[in-house]
């Protein structure tokens, strides 16, 4: 049997470090939001002659426009960017005309509103809170006491903060955007993390009910030792899936998959190394008090 609970300061340090870096990035840099959240501008130009799409793209970027989609069919240029104002559009247009020595007729300039209303975001948050409450109630019932439920929820929050924080790093350094897929990835992570934690807690509960009167640490260590193979095997299968999707899958879902990857890792990590130490601590407090 491995004495897992002995190294709780190490786990605490690792979690604090990861969360600290994530939160630092979140506060300092925040996120880039996708066009679904912030809306954007749709431009359609008629060019006087055909031009290279690479050069057009370069000029847009040089003038500070964030391109979401660019399409060039013959002399018809259609570009979707994050919201830009009229002045900026004029700047881009003049730069295009000058650098490529072409003439441009405007077919359409349109400001596009966000597809995700504030309403939607708010309701999703309410749903997440209610789901947490539901879990709390079920676990209090199934594990007969609030400590298991509280520890599982804290571990779940830990994973939420890890994913949300590290995504801000991805957002800053690799231009990942907060979009619907990110929201999905967060929800997936939280479900997975909970599932993983419950499997371990179930073991601890089983040992405690088996009769002998040992300390909670003993049961926790025994449960962790026995579930470690299962935890690793289980995460391995998920990692296989996600790695093949990262390496072979399309580029638009790459950040989604990477977020799921981070979620799986923290979800697997948090069950033995966050949820269990917290449970042990809570149970010991109960005995003392």
């Amino acid at each position: 049997m491995v004495n897992f609970t002995k190294y709780r300061w190490l786990y605490f340090f690792i979690s604090a470090l990861v969360i600290g870096i994530g939160l630092f990035s979140l506060i300092k840099w925040g996120y880039r939001y996708s066009i679904e959240f912030v809306g954007g501008t749709q431009l359609e130009y008629q060019l006087s002659r055909e031009a290279s799409i690479q050069e057009i793209r370069k000029i847009f970027i040089e003038n500070g426009a964030e391109i979401v989609e660019i399409l060039l069919e013959g002399k018809n240029l259609s570009v979707r960017t994050k919201a830009i104002n009229e002045k900026k559009e004029l700047g881009i247009r003049t730069a295009l005309e000058k650098n490529l020595s072409i003439r441009i007729d405007i077919l359409r300039i349109e400001t596009v509103g966000p597809t995700l209303g504030k309403e939607m975001v708010r309701k999703t948050l309410v749903a997440a809170l209610l789901a947490t409450l539901g879990i709390l109630i079920y676990m209090i019932y199934a594990f007969k006491g609030i400590n298991y439920a509280a520890a599982a929820i804290i571990a779940n929050l830990h994973d939420l903060i890890v994913v949300v924080g590290s995504y801000s790093l991805l957002s800053h350094f690799f231009k990942a955007e907060v979009d619907t897929m990110f929201v999905t990835a967060v929800l997936t992570t939280m479900s997975f993390s909970l599932h993983d934690t419950i499997v371990i807690f179930d073991k601890i509960r089983e040992y405690r009910h088996s009769g002998s009167n040992e300390k909670i640490e003993y049961y926790a260590n025994k449960a962790l030792t026995e579930t470690m193979v299962r935890s690793i095997n289980n995460s391995m299968t998920i990692l296989f899936m996600l790695l093949s999707l990262t390496l072979l899958g399309g580029s638009t879902i790459r950040f989604f998959i990477i977020t799921l990857l981070i979620g799986t890792i923290t979800g697997t990590y948090s069950s033995p190394f966050v949820a269990t130490p917290i449970l042990v601590w809570l149970e010991k407090r109960k005995i003392k008090g």
């Binding site: 809306g39 749709q42 359409r108 349109e110 400001t111 596009v112 509103g113 966000p114 597809t115 209303g117 309403e119 309701k123 999703t124 309410v126 749903a127 997440a128 209610l130 789901a131 539901g134 879990i135 079920y138 676990m139 199934a142 619907t180 897929m181 929201v183 999905t184 990835a185 929800l187 997936t188 479900s191 997975f192 909970l194 599932h195 419950i198 499997v199 807690f201 179930d202 089983e206 026995e226 579930t227 299962r230 095997n233 289980n234 391995m236 299968t237 998920i238 296989f240 899936m241 996600l242 093949s244 390496l247 072979l248 899958g249 399309g250 580029s251 638009t252 879902i253 989604f256 799921l260």
Partner: protein, 449 residues
């Protein structure tokens, strides 16, 4: 008994496989001199049985992000709205339209506002292209519902003018005061009608209106067009009313949807309609499906290598699991979008986990020196607790995110629901296959050997 059971099992298997068949897969080969040439398609029903007609195609429904659909652009009439209220009116119109399209049964549309110069537009992207005209009609309905009463009490004038011109005085009771509208059927005639359930204040107002108009007509107008002008028989104070009229079932349903979603704050008309491609390119989707299959194969190989025979059985049970879930998706039908697929993949992961949990338990019992048969029995029995707790919590999460009771304060549509639906179906199915089917398979294989 056993014969019937086997027969039932075989027919269910055939049904599931039939539903799961690929779409439009051409088959061309020569069998001796005969040329075989046909297309494989999943089951599609078109039955007329005792006057009951069942028409159903079991095809995969893909969402906007994977398949594309129709792009509709509506222009808003802004002349009647104050400039400072315009943005609010537009975004509330956006929300109402989203609600209507969803209530109509189209999953996961994308609705956004567009501003171009001083033109205000709303773009609606709808997956697939069926029933577009119906959808357009429904989206564009302003749905200003109004209750009116007689403008004059002069009996002489009253009898000379047509009924709908007489009831012109607004009562202050409008669609806003209605809590819920549902389609019901008249007890006597069997005709469809729309039942209204007023909010507290609405019920109060309605009670007062009926009180002062007993024996007189009251008008119910939709967008200044009379829907029905019943004569009040008695005071109605319970907050319920019905709108009768010559509705077809579809019209009644449409009316109920537009009342439930609320009135559009400004009127809109269609200015553009075209088909759009998927937001995720076809190549992307194909690549990802390929990658997913490779990943799945690796999972299966891993299970077989690590757990031997048991792993092979689990792999078979996983494949059965995949087929059953897919058949359920096609039957309901579930519109598959990227979040939906994520939910499904997560449920696959949990199904694998159920198997691993059981096997680790069996190994544990074997290490204790138990016989194989007893170890299997104990392993299943002990693992079931953990599987049950873990899956029930996941189902709770899926249930709340899916919001089956359609509560206002939870997401009533969109990607979160798509995710929750596939996750919920997947987990429920995996509870069944992971426990029942894997166990059956183990029994079958080990009894023989």
């Amino acid at each position: 008994m056993k014969f019937i059971k086997t027969l039932l099992l075989i027919s269910i298997t055939i049904l599931i496989i039939w539903i799961d068949l690929p779409e439009n897969l051409p088959v061309n080969f020569n069998l001796g001199k005969k040329k075989i040439n046909f297309k494989i398609n999943p089951l599609s029903l078109d039955i007329n049985f005792l006057g009951l007609s069942i028409k159903k195609k079991f095809n995969t429904q893909l969402g906007l992000d994977l398949k594309g659909g129709s792009h509709l652009v509506f222009e808003a009439q802004t002349s009647k709205t104050k400039p400072e209220d315009l943005n609010d009116a537009l975004s509330s119109a956006r929300d109402i339209i989203e609600k209507r399209v969803n209530l109509y049964g189209i999953s996961e549309p994308s609705v956004q506002t567009l501003k171009s110069g001083n033109k205000y537009r709303i773009a609606v992207d709808i997956p697939g292209v069926t029933d577009i005209n119906e959808a357009v009609k429904l989206i564009g309905k302003t749905a200003q519902l109004q209750f009116t009463e007689e403008a004059t009490s002069d009996a002489k004038i009253a009898t000379q003018t047509p009924l709908f011109l007489r009831v012109t005085k607004p009562t202050g009771l409008t669609g806003k005061d209605i809590k819920k509208a549902t389609v019901t059927f008249d007890n006597q005639t069997g005709k469809p009608q729309v039942s209204l359930n007023f909010s507290g204040e609405g019920a109060n107002l309605f009670s007062k209106i009926t009180e002062r108009n007993v024996g007189k007509p009251v008008g119910i107008f939709l967008d200044d067009y009379p829907l029905s002008i019943p004569t009040v028989q008695q005071v109605i104070s319970d907050g319920n009313a019905v709108i009768t009229g010559n509705f077809t079932v579809d019209q009644a349903k449409e009316l109920a949807i537009s009342i439930n979603s609320g009135a559009l704050p400004l009127s809109i008309n269609l200015v553009e309609q075209r088909n759009i491609g998927p937001s995720l390119g076809e190549k992307e989707v194909r690549q990802s499906v390929f990658a997913g299959l490779i990943g799945l194969t690796m999972v299966l190989i891993f299970m077989i290598v690590y757990y031997g025979n048991l792993g092979a059985i689990a792999s078979i049970s996983l494949i059965i699991y995949g087929l059953i879930s897919f058949a359920i998706f096609r039957t309901i039908p579930v519109v598959l979008t990227l979040p939906g697929i994520a939910g499904f993949i997560l449920s696959i992961g949990m199904a694998v986990d159920s198997n691993i949990l059981i096997f680790e338990r069996i190994k544990e019992e074997l290490r204790k020196g138990k016989k194989f048969e007893i170890a299997i029995k104990l392993g299943f029995g002990r693992a079931i607790d953990a599987i049950k707790d873990a899956n029930i919590t996941t189902l709770t999460v899926a249930f709340i995110l899916f919001n089956p009771l359609n509560w206002e304060f939870l997401p009533q549509f969109g990607m979160v629901r798509g995710f929750a639906l596939t996750l919920g179906i997947g987990v429920a199915t995996s509870l069944f296959t992971g426990v029942v089917i894997t166990r059956r398979l183990i029994n079958i294989f080990y009894k023989k050997s």
